[in-house]
Amino acid sequence: MLPPPDQHSEDTLTPISALQHHLFCPRQCALIHVERIWSEDSATAQGRLLHERVDGGKPDRREGIKIVRGMVLRSLTLKLSGKADVVEFHGQQPYPVEYKRGRPKRHRADEVQLCAQALCLEEMFGLTVPEGALFYGETRKRTVVSIDQELRRLTLDVIADCRTMIGEGRTPPPRRTPACRRCSLVGECCPDRLEKPPSVSKWLLRQLVD
């Protein structure tokens, strides 16, 4: 299933989780994946615990469906790697299911993450993955996601942007948006001060005048 890649291509794989961060905020993605800053708040801790529970579960079988948890995914053509919470096998057909702590959101980050998993599964198993699902902890509902052309295009665009940014080691400047309230890295990012920072040398001289 997984052909051995050469060393170089394995080193340049983009983590699937970065796509979601990039859609949420490109700077957050760079702080995590370029600058290697991580800060846990209650939301990220709950998310981590949820995934530890989901990933840690044993493989099982339900109504003829084989369930694999914490499955490692990779695509060498898209240069992606990551882990799926759950891949169900409906017969031969893989069906990715991603667990989310919160509720369905307006932005499409969760769908893009699922689509990226589907694209990896397509390469790994050599067949089309037309559908997957997102399971939301707050609503306790499963939302079926169709891996359609529009979502595929969006996902490929995000993969390209994200790869370029991480490859260049670039961190975009901050922008204060409503999403900042939900960002665990807001203290490291300082959007209020760094969105339009003053000239530091002029600021310093002003501090010395009483």
Binding site: R36, S39, G187, V200
Partner: protein, 346 residues
């Protein structure tokens, strides 16, 4: 804003630290002496020959809790470090800037300007709090020193070379430590300041300052490592094997605010007394174990005090200032800021 979490200081010599579930447990003489949940901890600092279990070390490394080992005098010995440290691009930017005077001089200028301005603030606060108790000539000396530090700060802010800036730094130190003893208005005879001495401290005030500087240096080093900077490559302090030069740089602007002012308060309020120090046969002075405990408690209390960060414009605990400054320096190195805004205390 990052939260200030607790630091646990373990001073007893025979302590053993271990992990129990998600807790840190401190044992001594086979008995449990304390426990704390790991998620509420920022750091664990062990003096003496305290031991720690590998399970605890791994948990600290994973949760980015600084677990470090110091000598009783506060000299850094070792630190447990996990895999999750930093960004090689940031360190490369740091090295390039350290090698390029046209870019490192403005950083050094800011640090020394802030140091002189903060020394002046310490004097101003002493004048404000106890000025009426001073004799006229003493008061005059204070006011002169305050005015001179203000001038030095302004001239430093315009200095062009590292050597000139270093000259101003020395001048500021002479002026400031020249009136330091006069700020100890309520000190008994044994707790007077006889000029700065470090290796070894030759009076109790110097012993207290040295210990506080060691604690501050430890926090600065952790703050720099926490944002992924290399604490050994500095701008004002140049490379010397074994020296944490960038931690020393970051300390400069914070010494008056976090350490000097605390030393003055502890002595003037009688929180620390002559009996909290020991003198060895050669005349070197250090804190007793009880003395160290008193200082560590006062240090923790001071770190909890809130102030308004001059550049970020947000309120922050004093204990976070080193972290915030390390973050601002990294933002300058990564290009978000056109300079490093030093910490100026008002």
């Amino acid at each position: 804003m990052r939260r200030l979490l607790n630091t646990i200081y373990v001073t007893s010599e025979d302590a053993w630290l271990r992990k129990d579930g998600e807790n840190l447990v401190v044992e001594a003489d086979g008995k449990e002496r304390g426990r704390a949940p790991l998620h509420a901890l920022e750091g664990v600092v062990c003096f003496n020959r305290t031991g720690a279990s590998p399970a605890l070390m791994a948990a600290c490394a994973e949760k980015a809790i600084t677990l470090s080992f110091l000598t009783p005098e506060g000299r850094f010995q070792a630190r447990v470090e996990g895999a999750q440290t930093g960004n090689v691009l940031l360190r490369r930017a740091q090295y390039r800037m350290a090698d390029d005077p046209s870019r490192s001089v403005p950083i050094v200028r800011g640090i020394v300007t802030a140091k002189a301005a903060n020394q002046r603030t310490v004097l101003l606060r002493a004048l404000r709090d106890h000025g009426e108790k001073l004799e006229t000539p003493q008061r005059k000396a204070f006011e002169d020193a305050e005015a001179r530090l203000g001038r030095i700060a302004r001239r430093t802010a315009e200095a062009e070379t590292i050597d000139v800036i270093r000259g101003f730094e020395g001048e500021a130190a002479n002026v400031y430590f020249g009136v330091f003893d006069a700020m100890l208005h309520a000190a008994p005879r044994e707790l007077r300041f006889g000029g700065r001495s470090r290796r070894p401290p030759l009076d109790r005030v110097n012993a207290l300052l040295s210990f506080l500087y060691a604690m501050l240096g430890h926090d600065c080093r952790s703050a720099l490592e926490g944002v992924g900077l290399d604490p050994q490559v500095g701008f004002l302090h140049t490379d010397r094997p074994g020296r944490a030069s960038l931690a020393l740089d970051l300390m400069e602007e914070l010494r008056p605010v976090l350490a000097d002012r605390l030393a003055l308060t502890m002595i003037n309020r009688g929180q620390i007394k002559a009996r909290d120090f020991v003198v060895d046969a050669g005349g070197a002075i250090s804190l007793t174990e009880d003395g160290r405990k008193l200082v560590l408690i006062a240090w923790q209390e001071r770190k909890k005090r809130e102030l308004r960060h001059p550049f970020l414009g947000e309120s922050a605990a004093m204990g976070l200032v080193a972290h915030l400054q390390a973050r601002l320096l990294s933002r300058h190195l990564r290009g978000d800021l056109d300079g490093y805004p030093p910490f100026i205390w008002r």
